[in-house]
């Protein structure tokens, strides 16, 4: 079956839906998602979305600009960051006009709270910048955008799992997908394709991410021979629920929660005396891991405490109700009465599909565009987050750059018309054959076992702290898992809702780019942002103030680099 649309967007999180909304004002738009749209993981974002609105106290676009650059450990591209912080204002007011139920100040404005690394006057102290809806900010924006897409008659293909992009002569032709409910493989023929496919937390054992977050977009792009950028930068969020990884928003610390070790100390005063618990995530995660490694974890275990008790029940219920709810239901702890045991959890990918500020995908990571192919949100790398993302800048990036990509697609279609280049049948067939091929593999390896081993090695050797020996072992392990993956056995041979098959396809993607994460971490011989090498503990601007571009040719990884765009803020030592 071939489905035709002007615009096909893959992924129904904030980036995908915001772009769909923009393009659906002029063109026929389809959104393809392996979940139902409101199940997308953007909905799990809790704490807020950044904009220097100054609704509660003085704030400036330039302060937000500086904080984001400094937070990125100077690897963020400053031209892109300027768009991020400027467009934040119209993008958030638009969400409000669409009906997004933000929490309000007494005079009825959008309320704002503190968040890690967001400061007043270029680093003086925390500032109230994160626009929020209690601790359900992502949920509220996601549902608002979905509702607006319903209004605009966006066509949704839910539970369609994307398998490949079809590119020929450097022009995008469409995608292939597996229609889970219908039980068939489908080709979608489109003039423009956008990816908003999200992150890959499920490459790690402890993660805040949903089971669906397997970085499928990155696997697809890599298979098509396109480049990926800065994959070595993986954010570990400081406060994942111990053993579960579930996110406890930085908003909790924004409201005043403490981090406490086994000696009862607020240990952040040793690491970030000025910002304390509101230091950026890379620094805070390292601080927690150091406390644990040096024996000050709670009762010697791999966790410290996040203490909300002094905030009081009323404030917790008003500002952090969802956190209270899942703590009680899932781990059986009421944060009103007990501190929450937490550990760093794999959370966000700073790297991804290289794009320019208009969302156009760059095949070589630098200048060569793929006509009609766009990406935005976590799967992309603009790069506004550089080596470390600030909290609340991810929802912002998804909305701002989803919006920009939507506008770019409209401009492109206005200029070029909607007549599509041919969809090459041989490429479609090859893609279908590849999927079907998974079902006929004859080994005895289990997808679940290989995935578990991958997650384990990524967590222990490619985590908060890294070093050459461990990274080399991890690389060897990932490569051996790739070999074993060739001998998997899929129990389910049917066509209808075959999640046995989709889990194998997901694992194939995970293995492909996990190799890039590990080898990128090994390749980058410095410590910057979320990449910390014990054997190279210093930032090295002379050799490494540059983005990594990686492609896979004939199974081998090839590296290239591109300079960081620096317009206003020169790199300096990063202290908080």
């Amino acid at each position: 079956m071939i489905i035709k649309h002007d615009v096909v967007i893959v992924g129904a999180g904030l980036a995908g839906l915001r772009a769909a909304l923009e393009a659906s004002r002029n063109y026929d738009v389809a959104v393809v998602s392996k979940l139902f749209p409101t199940r997308s993981h953007s909905g799990a974002a809790q704490g807020g979305i950044a904009a220097s609105l100054g609704n509660v106290e003085e704030d400036h676009i330039d302060w937000h600009f500086f904080d984001t650059v400094k937070g990125s450990d100077y690897l963020g591209d400053q031209d892109a960051i300027e768009y991020l912080v400027n467009d934040a204002h119209p993008a958030i007011y638009e969400l409000e006009h669409m009906g997004c139920p933000f929490s309000r100040t007494p005079e009825g404005k959008i309320n704002q709270r503190k968040f890690g690394g967001h400061t007043k006057n270029y680093g003086e102290g925390p500032v109230l910048r994160a626009c929020f809806a209690a601790d359900r900010t992502g949920h509220m924006i996601l549902h608002t955008l979905y509702d607006q897409c319903v209004k605009n008659n966006v066509r949704f293909y839910s539970e369609f799992y994307v398998t490949d992009i079809i590119v020929k002569d450097n022009i995008i032709r469409g995608i292939t997908a597996y229609d889970m409910e219908g039980g068939e493989y489908v080709a979608m023929h489109a003039k423009t394709v956008m990816f908003g496919t999200g992150g890959y937390g499920r490459a790690f054992k402890i993660t805040s991410n949903a089971h669906a977050n397997t970085g499928d977009g990155l696997g697809v792009v890599l298979r098509a021979g396109l480049a990926l950028e800065d994959l070595e930068f993986v954010q570990f969020h400081p406060t994942g629920v111990y053993k579960y990884g579930i996110l406890v928003s930085e908003g909790a610390r924004g409201e005043g929660a403490y981090l406490i070790n086994n000696d009862g100390e607020r240990f952040m005063e040793k690491y970030a005396p000025k910002l304390m618990e509101l230091a950026p995530r890379d620094l805070t995660s390292r601080s927690i891991q150091t406390e644990i490694d040096e024996g000050r974890g709670i009762n010697g275990e791999n966790c410290v405490h996040l203490d909300l008790r002094h905030l009081g029940e009323a404030k917790i219920n008003e500002r952090l109700p969802e956190i209270r709810s899942f703590c009680r239901k899932i781990i059986g702890i009421d944060p009103v009465e007990e501190p929450i045991p937490i550990e760093p959890t794999a959370h966000y990918s700073m790297g991804g599909i290289p794009v320019n500020v208009d969302g156009e995908v760059l095949a070589d990571g630098k200048s060569q565009k793929v006509e009609g192919f766009y990406a935005a949100g976590e799967c992309s790398c603009v790069s506004v987050h550089g080596a470390n993302r600030l909290g609340t800048n991810s929802l912002l990036e998804a909305v701002v750059f989803g919006r920009r990509a939507g506008k770019t697609m409209v401009k492109f279609l206005n200029a070029k018309g909607v007549d599509k280049a041919d969809l090459p049948e041989d490429q479609v067939k090859a893609s279908f054959d590849r999927i079907e091929g998974f079902k006929t593999r004859t080994g005895e390896e289990k997808v679940g076992t290989i995935r578990k081993e991958l997650q384990q090695v990524m967590m222990t050797k490619v985590g908060v702290y890294r070093e050459e020996k461990g990274l080399k072992e991890a690389l060897e392990k990932v490569r051996s898992l790739e070999k074993r993956f060739e001998k998997i056995k899929i129990d389910d041979k049917g066509m209808k809702f075959n999640t046995d098959l989709t889990e194998a396809l997901e694992l194939d993607n995970l293995l492909q780019f996990a190799e890039l994460i590990v080898s990128g971490a090994l390749n980058r011989q410095e410590s910057r942002g979320a990449q910390y090498r014990r054997d190279f503990p210093k930032r090295d601007d002379v050799n490494w103030l540059k983005h990594t571009i990686a492609v896979k040719k004939d199974g081998k990884i090839q590296y290239d680099y591109k300079p960081v765009v620096i317009t206003k803020f020169q790199p300096q030592e990063r202290k908080y």
Partner: protein, 236 residues
């Protein structure tokens, strides 16, 4: 560790020979495990053909609603220690919807009803350059209704819905409340005709099953009653 007998509803649409049936699996579990953990262990270690939906695993995405020991809940939140007998668990798909495969139900009709209530802000007044103001009190009025994750636990537990499939159902009506009671909205007159019918709010007979089933603890019946009140008092 405990041994749990998990009895799972199975249905494969591609195998005509097999009628819907229950299959029982024995799973090793920690008493603090959730039912979703058990389903994963079955799928990953024993039988890859088992189909069910899930994603976030902490109660915010709404994918894994199913019937567990007779009650609708999210499998990711269904803590073994909360069951009278945690060693015997029965898992079935949400009641009253067509079954696609095993625990996966067809939600097309559920979401069609969602679209019928015009689930979006309607405001024809051009917006200001900044935000529209809304008082914390006005915001509070819609708060509970915005918690909904569209998991379908409520609508599939509603006897009025079982009896009358055309009933809009609690989830769509809750969504209708969310926009009709938003102080920024001007669309009630456009939305009212689908509510003020036998298949709209009046089919709700205040049975409260939806409230019991809701994993987000939303008092859905109260919200539907507010819609009824709005209709009878013509406050629109």
């Amino acid at each position: 560790m405990i041994q749990v007998k998990v009895k799972v509803y199975r249905f494969n649409p591609e195998n005509d020979q097999q009628k819907p049936r229950f299959e029982t699996y024995t799973v090793e579990a920690d008493p603090k495990d959730k039912v979703l953990d058990l389903l994963h262990r079955i799928k990953w270690e024993q039988d890859g053909t088992l189909a069910f939906r899930r994603s976030c695993a902490h109660g915010i995405c709404g994918s894994c609603a199913m019937k567990i020991n007779g009650a609708n809940m999210l499998a990711c939140e269904a803590n073994l220690k909360n069951f009278k007998d945690p060693t015997n668990i029965i898992v079935e798909p949400l009641q009253s919807l067509p079954i696609i495969k095993d625990l996966v139900v067809d939600l097309k009709d559920f979401f069609k009803k969602y679209e019928i209530v015009k689930p979006y802000l309607i405001n024809k007044t051009p917006p200001p350059t900044k935000e529209r103001f809304q008082s914390p009190e006005d915001r509070q009025l819609i708060d509970e209704a915005t918690w909904c994750i569209q998991c379908a636990s409520c609508s599939t537990s509603c006897p009025s819905n079982w009896k009358n499939p055309n009933f809009l159902g609690p989830a769509a009506l809750l969504k209708s409340y969310r926009y009709n009671f938003d102080s920024r909205d001007e669309g009630t007159a456009e939305r009212i005709h689908v509510l003020d019918t036998n298949d709209g709010v009046w089919r709700c007979h205040t049975i409260f099953n939806c409230v019991e089933a809701c994993p987000k603890d939303i008092n859905i019946t109260w919200h539907i009653s507010q819609l009824k009140k709005k209709l009878v008092s013509r406050e629109y």
